[in-house]
Symmetry: C2
Subunit: 226 residues, 2 copies
């Protein structure tokens, strides 16, 4: 089969400037843990980024995500205590120079970011009538993560930093936020305006890990081709 | 604590036009299963959308994703056969009018889309030194899904449709694409130019499911507040 090769630049319904904006948002998005401003996040801005999340794809159009917006300082203090506990345990896994480096990392902005967001997922939703979930039931959680990435990019263009805190016991979040058993805790996010967005990921700047070249993650036709 | 309320419109480093472009990409993205064109997807365009995927956030900067690009027709025929088998089994779960409606749905474009992409994830990567994975090990898979959503949005602005096929046995994909055991199959995507992007999700147009209003998925301070 010989496919027709065409130049598509003229046929996308997004202009070169619009395309560049989307690529720039993707490139300039950062996982933000420090440098949050205490400036309030207006409700209309928060609703715009939540609407972006809500427009994510979902298996069977199940839209299995729920967003718990946390602004209350007492609640955030409880979550911060849960982070501290998990982080103390996590730090024990490292030794020597790596342990020192771990302790120097800034890993959350729970109290500094004025908005926290817990994202939960209904693992067995009625919505969608089960479509697409028989062979891969995990796709409801994956749908929820697609929503988070939409939110992350929308936040970036609003000037809002987002940090995903995974060093926290999901059971602690369940207790603090009264999340019922049929919902899975997928993510806990810190959201707020930031003074500046870093040009490189924090973990690159801290010498924790570097970035892989794109070619290292691509295979052709079958796994292990490169 | 009284937070300072400021108008941020002047302080984002994205112009109103750039912000609108990102929101439009998010809104106009569709899960495409039909209406693929057989036009070839040039390698440079495919690399741009894969680079967008590769710029996703990842726990510990582990970048645990691998992308297997499948263009070979014989391989896609094998995957199509695996889909047919899973779909026949899935259809048995429905009865009456719902069963008829299920059979009328278009659920994949494996042979029509010139590029297929299998996205796999290393569940226990060396990269990242375990950061953030002790309490929530599933975050490596979630990172991989963030990459998929980046790709989906980049594809949209290139005029490329993407369809996520979840009605396929991951073990069949593992066999066909020689994926080793330490990697998890996260997604199988069909990618190609499309004649037109629908304004509504296929499942809404087919009467399978409708969309939830945003307010139905938001809670404040704790779960169950609304």
């Amino acid at each position: 089969m010989v496919a027709r090769v065409v130049t598509r630049d003229m046929t996308s319904d997004f202009s070169p400037e619009e395309r560049a904006a989307v690529y720039r948002a993707i490139r300039a998005r950062r996982d933000v843990r420090a440098d949050f401003s205490s400036d309030d996040v207006p409700e209309d801005v928060l609703l715009r980024v939540l609407e972006a999340a809500h427009q994510a794809p979902s298996v069977g159009l199940s839209q299995p995500w729920r967003f718990i917006v946390v602004r209350d300082l007492a609640t955030r203090r409880d979550v911060r205590a849960a982070f501290d506990e998990a982080n103390t345990a996590a730090a024990r896994a490292y030794e020597g120079e790596r342990a020192e480096r771990y302790r120097s990392l800034r890993l959350q902005g729970i109290l500094e970011a004025p908005v926290n967001l817990c994202v939960v997922c209904d693992d067995d939703p009625e919505r969608g009538h089960g479509l697409g979930r028989q062979t891969m039931p995990e796709t409801v959680r994956y749908s929820t993560v697609c929503a988070i990435q939409n939110l992350w990019l929308a936040a970036r263009v609003e000037g809002l930093g987002v940090g995903w805190v995974s060093i926290v016991d999901p059971h602690a979040l369940r207790r603090i936020l009264t999340i019922p058993d049929h919902l899975t805790v997928v993510a806990y996010l810190c959201i707020g305006y930031v003074h500046t967005f870093a040009t490189e990921p924090d973990l690159v700047r801290a010498g924790w890990e570097n970035r892989l070249p794109l070619a290292a993650v691509i295979d052709h036709e079958r796994y292990g081709s490169h």
